[in-house]
Point group: C2
Chain length 252, copies 2
Amino acid sequence: MIRTVPCNLDGFLDRLNSRSILSDEEQRQILDLPVRVKHAVPNEDFVSLGQQVEHSCFVLDGLVGRFDQNARGDRQITALHISGDMADLHSVVQPRATSALQALSTSTILEIPYPALRALASSYPAIAEAFWRDCTVDSMVLAQWVVNVGRRDGPARIAHLLCELACRYGAKMTNGAVTFMLPMTQIQLADAVGLTSVHVNRCLKVLEDAETTFRKHTVRIKDWDALADLGEFDRDYLQCDQRPDERIRLVQ
Amino acid sequence: MIRTVPCNLDGFLDRLNSRSILSDEEQRQILDLPVRVKHAVPNEDFVSLGQQVEHSCFVLDGLVGRFDQNARGDRQITALHISGDMADLHSVVQPRATSALQALSTSTILEIPYPALRALASSYPAIAEAFWRDCTVDSMVLAQWVVNVGRRDGPARIAHLLCELACRYGAKMTNGAVTFMLPMTQIQLADAVGLTSVHVNRCLKVLEDAETTFRKHTVRIKDWDALADLGEFDRDYLQCDQRPDERIRLVQ
DNA sequence: CGGGCCGTTGACACAAATCAATGTCCGTGG
DNA sequence: CCACGGACATTGATTTGTGTCAACGGCCCG
């Protein structure tokens, strides 16, 4: 079976366009960025802590996590990046890596060299602005993660994360039900919500009372409102349903 | 007693200069930004959730927190801003406020209108870049907060936060000891580390075994290494001792 | 002098971690 | 095709950290 794998930055451009206003020329420049395709296998850092990196990582396909850990070695995921995300755009202006990047499932990464990104950000202020805005949204997600691990119990943490991911994946809702693929294990889920995998397993049973299941890499939410309620989820912060005419362009 | 209160953006410029390279002209432009002085009293939002804001808030003096809360009303601070910080620079490109801002102690805020900030970011790409970089550092701090509340126990959470703040305040170390003013209550500290104030009180007693005390708004760390060890603190992520020649300037 | 906020302490309840064992699934190699 | 191994999921028993509730004390400020 022959399958053509898309190897370009269409997804990156789509992401930028959803929040920022770019001219045709600027959009073309984005798509013309040089990339190197790389395949990342699960449970193996493809960007290590302290490593001297010279490129940003675009997630073409798969699921990527930003990993930190405490002194005991307990891992904590501080960000999840789905396909279409730039995992470390911020490093363009601040290259000292402070977290590792690791694929949660087999993933395809497009490495984009810093020099190219920097040249673009430097020559096209509107592109720099779009990059900055993209980082800002990541930061808002991060703030919600602090609330999640700081002030919610196990079931609520998981419910909130599942809602967040459903929105970011753009999963379709039909009759108040949502289903989407989530290629991660309960162990990884535990690392994202600051619990142990044993407890995550028990919490998932609680979520089944709200008719939400997570089995075989598939999340099935039968009653979105019930889950959002349990996870205290309010999608506003994701800025994912911003209207095109609400977008801002500072430059020009 | 007559006291002249400094009402300008010197501190903001210092902060930007410490991480970014700006020309004389660009520096002048920063200092010429229009400001409106505002005094914020403790425990009262000066930026509310969902409020239509038209300015960023520079903390001239005092201590400011970014507040979120869960459905039960339990509060979670997602960022602390000390004097010299811009509390919501990110809102320049993404103005939908997703958190409230509140002073923890009586504070002096300089409100800087978006139009002025945007005009500057638009006309001077290097300034936009410096703003972006500043937001990036905030984001790294936030990621560490996720690790803190997600994977450390009470005493370690508090130890880590105290170490972070000591570094950000630039507190002087003498003989391995550090002392600095921290104008917040145990209740507010609890909101920052995701614990209850009762438990924070008990954890502070544990820290006294490591010869660190927090009384009357003063943090006294007798043995920095012991506290850093307990809080698993590694100052690298703060980017606060970056050498001037390590600074990056993309533009030009 | 009095009131209120904050800090402190104790008894108790509960959520989550820990430890340990077993079950299930899936890919691999014999 | 089946046996094996390994990663992941599941379950129970127990411990531990933290929350909850309640009371009291100190301190500042009006």
